[in-house]
Homo-oligomer: 111 residues x 2
DNA sequence: GCAAGGTACCTTGCGCGGCAAGGTACCTGG
DNA sequence: CCAGGTACCTTGCCGCGCAAGGTACCTTGC
């Protein structure tokens, strides 16, 4: 891995969940697909993280899922946002903006 | 509290530690003082979080501490950055910028 | 002179979420 | 036919923030 390993791991907490919701905004996606995108963005370190997360999102009814056959390979479970999911995402965007603002300010204060 | 309670709590993970380091940049501070500043900024919910954190920072030699008497009230433990602390802070600034950038981008993608 | 309340430190028990490792099954390509 | 990519999932662990609770100092007011 690049830099800031341990630090990154902590940063992802709580963010990853909402990043998944954000990715679902533009249409339904399946897990393995999300894994590669989030890993690429440096927001996910292990597959083993995402599937339990998706289960939680289903349990909390922020997403709903449907099995579809793949043109090649095993079947995929596709996820889509529910209304609650969209609401949660909007709410998080505010929290994030505010939070990130505070942190930026604090980190620069006398840099 | 305002909004996004639970979300906020998760967001603070790993950030708080480095915010403390950032606050020490401009000179030594004592715990109770940090508590009020960080609480004010919405980055800390409970006193009980900070003291163990400060112990960790001491253990990892990112800060050093010295007891000083207070003009009024019980003695205070003042904390100051070590060289390692300054380095950790610099390193975190990069991680944070990169991380926050990724998140911002992802959250806006099709907002 | 003593109780009340602010200052200042610390500890304990808990829960949650990300990580690593491991496991199953499907399907294609050599 | 089997090696390897696709795609799903589970289990055990660890670290950090939180809430609640605890000690002691010092001032203020009655």
């Amino acid at each position: 891995m690049t830099t800031g390993d341990a630090a990154r791991t902590q940063l992802r907490r709580g963010v990853l969940e909402h990043c998944v919701l954000a990715l679902l905004q533009s249409g339904e996606r399946y897990g393995y697909d999300l894994v590669s995108e989030l890993s690429g963005a440096g927001l996910l370190a292990s597959e083993g993280t995402l599937y339990p997360l998706l289960s939680r999102l289903r349990r909390d009814e922020l997403v709903e899922s449907a099995w579809r056959e793949s043109p090649s390979g095993p079947p995929r479970r596709y996820y889509a946002l529910t209304d609650s999911g969209r609401a949660a995402l909007d709410s998080f965007r505010h929290s994030w903006a505010q939070f990130a603002g505070s942190v930026d300010q604090l980190l620069q204060k006398g840099a």
